[in-house]
């Protein structure tokens, strides 16, 4: 019998562990990855020629990063590894890829999508100025290229990444003006019991916060973002926030790193036809999966932060579990005992995810407070006021209708960075529950498709 054609999209923690599990069962999967090297975002490997140690790059996670990289290096001969391959579409049992301007097709019997997460963003007036980066992008600049996003930086938003990236910039010797967190400290205290489901991670987190406090950087919690100042010529010049006590305060800076925890990258799952469900806790739609990562579409499996933002350790577990599910469904045989142990681990990761969501809540209430002239969709320059107008005056109380009327989410990013905030704006303006406003339907290409890739069909 011919081997089933199993394709993995993504070579981060979930994708690598899935590949490892499949190889151990005698399968040679195709691993498609957009990156030039494996590791994903969290364990991103520096470009060839850079010589920083793992400790410098990954801090307390150096051992885990090394282990993942070594595993993947050992797998390379046993898999069909295709780096720099963007999966731009999934249609009719085939992944459509693009590599350096060349389009290709990869058919599959089973597909594991390990597409990771991107920053969850809430607009703030002025966030379109040059010098505003997402927290994830700020971290990549540092990790990949040893570059800082500015000379004097404000870190604003909430979530574990906010503290981590701030700490990494301080360690790199960059001037950090302030860490401005929308979550009140009390939320973290209330979530402590759930966060204690992973005591080791909680301890690392507390140590990091201790380090931040000792660094002398101004830290404000429970803040409300008001405006990022700047102009078209010189970019960002400062940030104004309302402090927890009510006072307005301005921080001068030349760059801002912004983010409110993460959102799963679900476009590929959407294109594959997977069903989505509304997650009340984090107020976002997420693909439906069973306990092992099976999506609603037969033969499609979702693992890692692209399905549930459980972090890198959770992604490794989810990757293994999804691969076991593939093997079990293909009748190749998977260890029931291993699967049971992985499921238990996964449940612990899920409790921790809930803890993080409570400790660093998505500040959805800000959507109602944004001024009408705040740009929401930066690709298409659509303002909050325009979205409110189509929602209330033209009856576009469903997100795809609001998109059709206002162009929100129609640009290069396909709404990945503004879609959730746009839904919150429509919900706040119409008084409808967010679930009823819906989500932007995914449309190909996942990222811009170079026309030069189109050649005479053979």
């Amino acid at each position: 019998m011919a081997q089933p054609r199993i394709v993995i999209i993504g070579a981060g923690p979930a994708g690598v562990r899935a590949a490892e599990t499949l190889v151990a069962a005698g399968i040679r999967p195709v691993v498609l990855d957009e990156g030039a090297r494996d590791g994903g975002q969290i364990y991103r490997r520096q470009p060839e020629g850079f010589r920083r140690s793992s400790c410098e790059l990954y801090g307390t996670e150096a051992e885990r990063a090394d282990a993942l990289h070594q595993t993947f290096d050992a797998l390379k001969a046993k898999i069909d590894y295709r780096p720099r391959h963007l999966a731009w579409n999934i249609f009719d049992g085939q992944v459509h890829t693009l590599c350096e301007g060349v389009a290709d097709i990869v058919p599959f019997d089973a597909l594991i999508i390990a597409s990771g997460a991107t920053d969850r963003l809430m607009p703030v007036k002025g966030w379109e100025h040059a010098g505003v980066f997402s927290l994830g992008a700020s971290q990549i600049a540092l990790k990949a290229q040893a570059c800082a996003i500015g000379r004097r930086i404000v870190f604003m938003g909430t979530g574990p990444l906010l503290q981590l990236v701030t700490a990494q910039y301080i360690k790199a010797g960059v001037e950090v003006v302030a860490l401005l967190d929308t979550s009140p400290f009390s939320a973290q205290v209330r979530a402590a019991a759930r966060l204690a489901s992973r005591p080791d991670v909680l301890m690392k987190g507390l140590k990091m916060v201790g380090g931040l406090l000792r660094s002398g950087v101004a830290i404000h919690r429970g803040i409300t973002p008001v405006e990022i100042h700047g102009d078209a010529d010189s970019g960002v010049s400062g940030v104004t926030v309302r402090l927890a006590g009510g006072k307005l305060q301005r921080f001068d800076c030349d760059a801002v790193a912004l983010g409110y925890h993460l959102r799963p990258e679900t476009q590929l799952a959407d294109l594959a036809g997977c069903a989505f469900d509304f997650d009340d806790v984090t107020r976002q739609f997420m693909p439906v999966i069973d306990g092992d990562g099976r999506a609603s579409v037969k033969g499609v499996y979702l693992a890692g932060d692209g399905a549930r933002t459980q972090g890198a350790d959770g992604a490794e577990i989810a990757g293994r579990l999804a691969a076991h599910a593939v093997l079990a469904d293909a009748g190749i045989g998977a260890s029931a005992m291993q699967m049971a142990a992985l499921r238990r681990e996964r449940e612990r990761m899920e409790r921790f995810r809930m803890g993080l969501a409570a400790a660093y809540p998505w500040p959805h209430h800000l959507a109602a407070t944004l001024s009408d002239d705040t740009i929401l969709c930066r690709c298409e320059c659509v303002t909050v006021g325009e979205i409110r107008a189509v929602a209330t005056e033209k009856g576009a109380d469903e997100l795809n209708r609001a998109k059709a009327f206002s162009r929100v989410g129609m640009g290069r990013c396909q709404g990945r960075y503004c879609g959730q905030a746009a839904a919150e704006v429509v919900a706040a303006a119409t008084g409808l529950p967010l679930e009823a406003v819906g989500r932007l339907r995914g449309q190909a290409p996942v990222k811009p498709l170079a026309i030069r890739a189109a050649r005479q069909p053979s």
């Binding site: 731009w88 579409n89 249609f91 009719d92 085939q94 459509h96 389009a103 033209k394 009856g395 469903e398 209708r401 059709a404 009327f405 129609m410 640009g411 290069r412 396909q414 449309q443 190909a444 290409p445 811009p448 498709l449 170079a450 026309i451 030069r452 890739a453 189109a454 050649r455 005479q456 069909p457």
Partner: protein
């Protein structure tokens, strides 16, 4: 939107289907003081009317359709005043080009014949065309230029008609699925899935690709097929290509058309189509079609090679085997009117169809010839067979 009514809703006219045909008919009926209920299963202009290419093109049409297209073009020119909203209509000109002398000959014949219908077209040879429009590729042998055709935004036009109709007093029911249409005495009785009843002495079915499901209930089935056009749009670039461009060819894969919108993006369509699902109301874009279409667009305008496509989409369009719509009176039931199955070329016609159907309903006749579109052409064929 109006909530569920206990009493039947009674109007002069019921229109089932709120695409551009239905919405425009409702609008023009209000101008004639006829009361009207416009009933739409989803949202106004959400299906083919909202997902098409946006061509406001007359040249290349079936010649007997030109009077209707001309009447529609005149309305497009005053659409903004009429509706009080901007549907982004731009009379930029439209150029049809061909790659072979056979196609050029065919366009020349068409240009001669179209003159009789009041459509003036200018034939331009390849080199003259390229000196005027340097973006054309070397394979382009010549073209036919229609100076006052253009394009508009399909996401905006039909909803604008719907809102204007509503402001003018039409009863607009969105998210209302009609499951039964029947004649009871002098009245039509139209029942929605949630049990609401609408009554009127006149009924218009303008339900696009789904039109046959309703016409069949009156014993007038038609051989309609649903197809999904394959559309895509590029990232924005400086506004430079003003006319709408299209390739005339007998090779389906070679068909490609494009327009640049003022904000800079290039909208591209054409080539092969997909089969939509009439029940889920979704049509997909086959990535192979996108790649083939992009290959073809580079033959037309090679410079587009340097751009990227940022989005693809499709929609659900109804096609008739003879490539002309079903429009006009029923052959079997008095008071019953049809306007559906516009075969992927209905967007330009929409305002004119609305105006003509309102005239027909109001006065019992229309000054614009629509006989070739009669639904009876299918029943007659069946009887012959």
């Amino acid at each position: 939107m109006t909530g569920p009514a206990r009493e039947p809703v009674r109007t002069d006219v019921i229109i089932v289907g709120g695409g551009i045909m239905g919405a425009a008919t409702a609008f023009f009926l209000r101008q004639r003081n006829r009361s009207v209920a416009l009933i739409e299963r989803g949202l106004i202009g959400q299906q083919a009317s909202g997902t098409n290419f946006g061509n406001v093109r007359r040249q290349g049409r079936f010649l007997p359709q030109l009077p209707l297209a001309n009447r529609s073009r005149a309305i497009w020119g005053r659409l903004n005043q009429l509706l009080g909203e901007d549907a982004e209509f731009l009379p930029t000109g439209h150029i049809r080009v061909g790659y072979t002398s056979e196609m050029i000959d065919r366009m020349e014949t068409y240009a001669r014949d179209a003159k009789a219908y009041g459509l003036d077209l200018e034939m331009i040879s390849g080199n003259a065309l390229r000196s005027r429009y340097p973006f054309f590729g070397p394979e382009v042998k010549g073209g036919s230029y229609s100076p006052v055709d253009g394009h508009a935004n399909p996401r905006l036009a039909a909803p604008a008609f719907g809102r204007a109709a509503k402001r003018a007093g039409a009863h607009v029911f969105e998210n209302t699925e009609i499951i039964r249409v029947e004649k009871e005495g002098e009245d039509f009785r139209v029942t929605s899935a949630d049990g609401r009843v609408f009554r009127a002495p006149v009924l218009q079915i303008s339900a696009g690709a789904w039109g046959n499901r309703l016409s069949t209930q009156f014993g007038e089935p038609v051989p309609i097929e649903a197809h999904g056009p394959q559309m895509c749009v590029t990232e924005p670039l400086p506004y430079a290509i003003t006319p709408v461009l299209g390739v005339t060819t007998d090779v389906p894969e070679e068909i490609v058309y494009m327009r640049q919108v003022k904000r800079g993006n290039v909208v591209i369509g054409g080539g092969m189509r997909t089969r939509p699902d009439l029940d889920t109301r979704r049509a997909h874009v086959d990535p192979a079609n996108t790649l083939s279409q992009l290959h073809q667009i580079k033959r037309l305008v090679p410079a587009l090679d340097r751009l990227s496509v940022i989005r693809v989409w499709s929609g659900v369009e109804g096609y008739m085997p003879d490539d002309v719509p079903v429009m006009g009176l029923s052959g079997k039931v008095s008071g019953l009117h049809y306007a559906f199955g516009f075969c992927g070329h209905g967007f330009q016609l929409g305002p004119g169809v609305g105006d003509v159907m309102a005239e027909l309903i109001d006065t019992g006749r229309t000054i614009t010839p629509i006989a070739p579109f009669a639904i009876t052409r299918f029943s007659q064929k069946q009887e012959v067979n």
